[in-house]
Amino acid sequence: MVDALVQLLDATIRVSVPLLLACLAGLYSERAGIFDIGLEGKMLAGAFAGASAAAVSGSAWVGLLVAILTAVFLALVHGFASITHRGNQIVSGVAINFIAAGSTIILGQAWFQQGGRTPPLSGPARFEPIILPGADALRDVPVLGIIYSELLSGHSLLVYVAFLMVPVTWWVLFRTRFGLRLRAVGENPAAVDTAGISVTWLRYRAVILTGVLTGAAGAYLAVAQNAGFVKDMTAGKGYIALAALIFAKWKPVPAMYACLLFGFLDAASIRFQGAEWPLVGRVPVQLINALPFILTVILLAGFIGKAIPPRAGGVPYVKER
């Protein structure tokens, strides 16, 4: 029983990580007033670029770096469209999603001829699980031992980084000058402008951070959780991350809980496929798979109270006239 539960929670953590990284990515951008529906596309492009670079170089680290650079590039495209040229942020984000979905398949086929996949990664080309000290020795301690050795230990580096990013993001947002300005520019850019701070540069920095984190999310998917890129491997995670961001009301710690909740549903849906339930019998796989999305709709439809987005969100900053 404990074993099963720990395994389920362990899976929850694994599938939550890309959600969490993407959600925090979106948090930086949206807190600065730039809506980003293109998290999905940046994550996908990052996953593809990361897997390709890792396959060619044989180094997971090179994969991570290239994934981040690729996602940052796309983030800058979004910034150029929506900050510099004051374009529609939704249109720009959707365009990035389309570009990522299409180009990863085309480039993957052109470079590797494996039907859009990248070559399987192994050894140093992948992020290996990190065994925490004493994990093996403590395995036999009842309950706590299995929690430590199975649940906390044995994840890849990016898992720990993702969860560490939660307090770091909180600290940056609420305890630093940069965070104060970032939050201010998402609420009232004119106040930031008249205080003598560049709105444009501030928003670009936020967008770059979004790129870094979505790149890391992509790299985790293709270079750590899986051993290579598969087409459409993000499978809507960028959108779920956006839902989690709204659910968490743009706050880092609730964002983590929201991502864990969605991750748990995802993990549970995999685990309970085909299982017999008391009273209802066998539940169709499709229904189980749809659960995270159904929950998203229900939660966003009113269970979370009023979620007030950053007031200047989605609105390009134009001085009067």
């Binding site: 609420f174 305890r175 630093t176 000058r177 940069f178 965070g179 104060l180 300005r181 939050r183 201010a184 609420e187 009232n188 004119a190 106040a191 930031v192 402008d193 008249t194 205080a195 003598g196 701070i197 007031r311 001085k319 006239r321």
Partner: protein, 510 residues
């Protein structure tokens, strides 16, 4: 003699084809309060935004304390000791006071230290200038008067010697405005230089040492306040003689058109804002409701006009009831001859993103003469809009221009033209001249008097007591949701002021 605090030399600024500032020269002496007065759109705010580095002048020179100073960004202005309180506050509404104060002037990369420093600095400013405000209060929960104080604190916190205030009293109650003026005088005594932009002549006379008048982008005159008069300044602003007192004949009131009985209205928080108000408005008279803002006037007219639900009471329009406690429909009321000029033209009266012509028929767009079958008759609408533009002297005379690009006075004329030209029997007008310049005020007042003389019933609310006194045939005073008195148009300002403040006075001869 000391160098002037500010010298502007030959400032020019154009927005597209519009020359907002042309060859402006201005000198402001150190330690004085200098007023800049002019109609809306005269270029006052543009000039000050150039001084604050928010806009760049096309040409010209700025000297601060005698030194030529390049001001390209607000940062340069702040470094030169210039602070500005904008007309629309530049505050982050869900931040606390102290967060707003330090924003951009944090000094340290980490907030803990900068907040601690700011806290002691705020205490000093509070002690020195009486600028009391709770540093941990959230901005959106503060009244506008205190929000403005935060703006002043922001400027002082950055160590400004020169403080620019753009239309600071537009959002304030008279008491708040008086308090602001006391603060400004105190700042002046401390040696600060203050530039006050306004279009209210009375403020200029009350507080400034010198005054400059702007008209259509040029600086037309500078006077010592003590050596000028309200009449002279008004004439300089508008370029012609202005009637500050409306000329009107005797009212000839006829039958009751609008009758309100025991109307009670609660606001969204459930607080009773209108408490059993009864009043009648007859054809051919203007009934003015005076009162300090927030005493239920707004809720009263909204309930009558069908945009806010009343809890109880009856309203009769031409003897027939309006369903004020149920589903009163503003559209239906328009059909029944009740027109409403709402107080808040930006959010309720107009869609600012629409073209002028679209706004000039809004709410009446389903009238047959604007329609061709199921479609809008665009030609008829534009012809109609151009007619109104000519009749109401709306400037610029361009019915295709986005409404947001008109000045406040012209926007108000668009709303008034729309409502008046439908020839209603009853006109409810809220704050007809708020944020409107002197020339347009005169025009609007004349139109309202003309409505009265045509035998229409007009119900007017305004926070400008002068306006109530000069237009109304009968004055009702509201205080705390009740009508606390009725006076004739010749009632003195002092008498009305006492009623507005809720001081009951028994009259011997009734």
């Amino acid at each position: 003699m000391a160098e002037p605090a500010i010298q502007l030399i030959g400032i020019n600024k154009s927005f597209g084809a519009v020359r907002a500032n042309r060859d402006i020269n201005l000198e402001v002496e150190r330690g004085t309060i200098h007023g800049i007065i002019g109609e809306n759109g005269a270029g006052k705010s543009t000039l000050m935004s150039i001084l604050y580095g928010f806009y760049h002048a096309d040409s010209g020179e700025i000297r601060v304390g005698g030194q030529p100073t390049a001001i390209r960004t607000p940062n340069d202005a702040i470094a030169a000791g210039i602070g500005m309180v904008h007309q629309h506050f530049m505050l982050v509404e869900n931040f606390t006071v102290i967060e707003n104060v330090i924003l951009g002037a944090e000094g340290e990369p980490l907030l803990n230290k900068s907040i601690a420093k700011a806290r002691s600095e705020l205490q000093r400013l509070e002690r020195d200038y009486g600028l009391e405000v709770d540093p941990d209060a959230v901005i959106e929960e503060l009244p506008v008067g205190l929000q403005q104080r935060v703006e002043i604190l922001k400027a002082l916190f950055r160590g400004c010697d020169i403080l620019i205030l753009d239309e600071p009293t537009g959002v304030l109650t008279p008491a708040e405005a008086d308090h602001l003026f006391r603060i400004l005088k105190m700042l002046k005594d401390e040696g600060k230089t203050i530039v006050l932009i306004t279009h209210k002549l009375r403020e200029i006379m009350a507080i400034t040492d010198t005054v400059s008048v702007m008209r259509q982008g040029t600086m037309v005159a500078t006077r010592r306040t003590a050596e000028t008069t309200v009449e002279e300044l008004a004439e300089l602003m508008v370029g012609r003689r202005v009637l500050l007192r409306v000329e009107k004949g005797e009212a000839k009131p006829a039958g009751v058109k609008l009758s309100v009985k025991n109307l009670t209205v609660k606001d969204s928080r459930g607080v009773v804002m209108v408490d059993g108000v009864s009043l009648d408005v007859r054809a051919g008279e203007i009934v003015g409701i005076a009162g300090v803002a927030g005493n239920g006037q707004s809720e009263l007219i909204e309930a009558i006009a069908g945009t806010r639900r009343a809890q109880s009471g009856t309203v009769l329009l031409d003897g027939r009831p309006i369903d004020v406690t149920g589903h009163a429909d503003p559209g239906e009321l328009r059909d029944r001859g009740l027109a409403h000029v709402p107080e808040d033209r930006h959010h309720v009266g107009l869609v600012l993103a629409f073209e002028e012509a679209e706004n000039s028929i809004l709410g009446y767009h389903d009238k047959p003469h604007y329609l061709r079958g199921p479609f809008l008759d665009i030609d008829a609408i534009h012809a109609d809009a151009r007619e109104k533009i000519a009749k109401y002297d709306i400037r610029p005379a361009n019915d295709r221009l986005k409404t947001a690009n008109f000045s406040g006075g012209n926007q108000q004329k668009i709303v008034l033209a729309r409502e008046i030209e439908q020839d209603p029997d009853v006109l409810i007008v809220g704050q007809p001249t708020r944020g409107v310049d002197v020339g347009a005020i005169e025009f609007i007042h004349k139109r309202l008097i003309a409505m009265r003389d045509q035998g229409k019933a007009v119900l007017l609310i305004s926070v400008e007591l002068d306006e109530i006194r000069s237009l109304s045939d009968r004055i009702l005073v509201m205080f705390a949701g009740r009508v606390v008195g009725e006076r004739g148009p010749d009632a003195s300002e002092g008498e009305l002021g006492l009623l507005m403040a809720g001081v009951e006075k028994r009259e011997a001869a009734e």
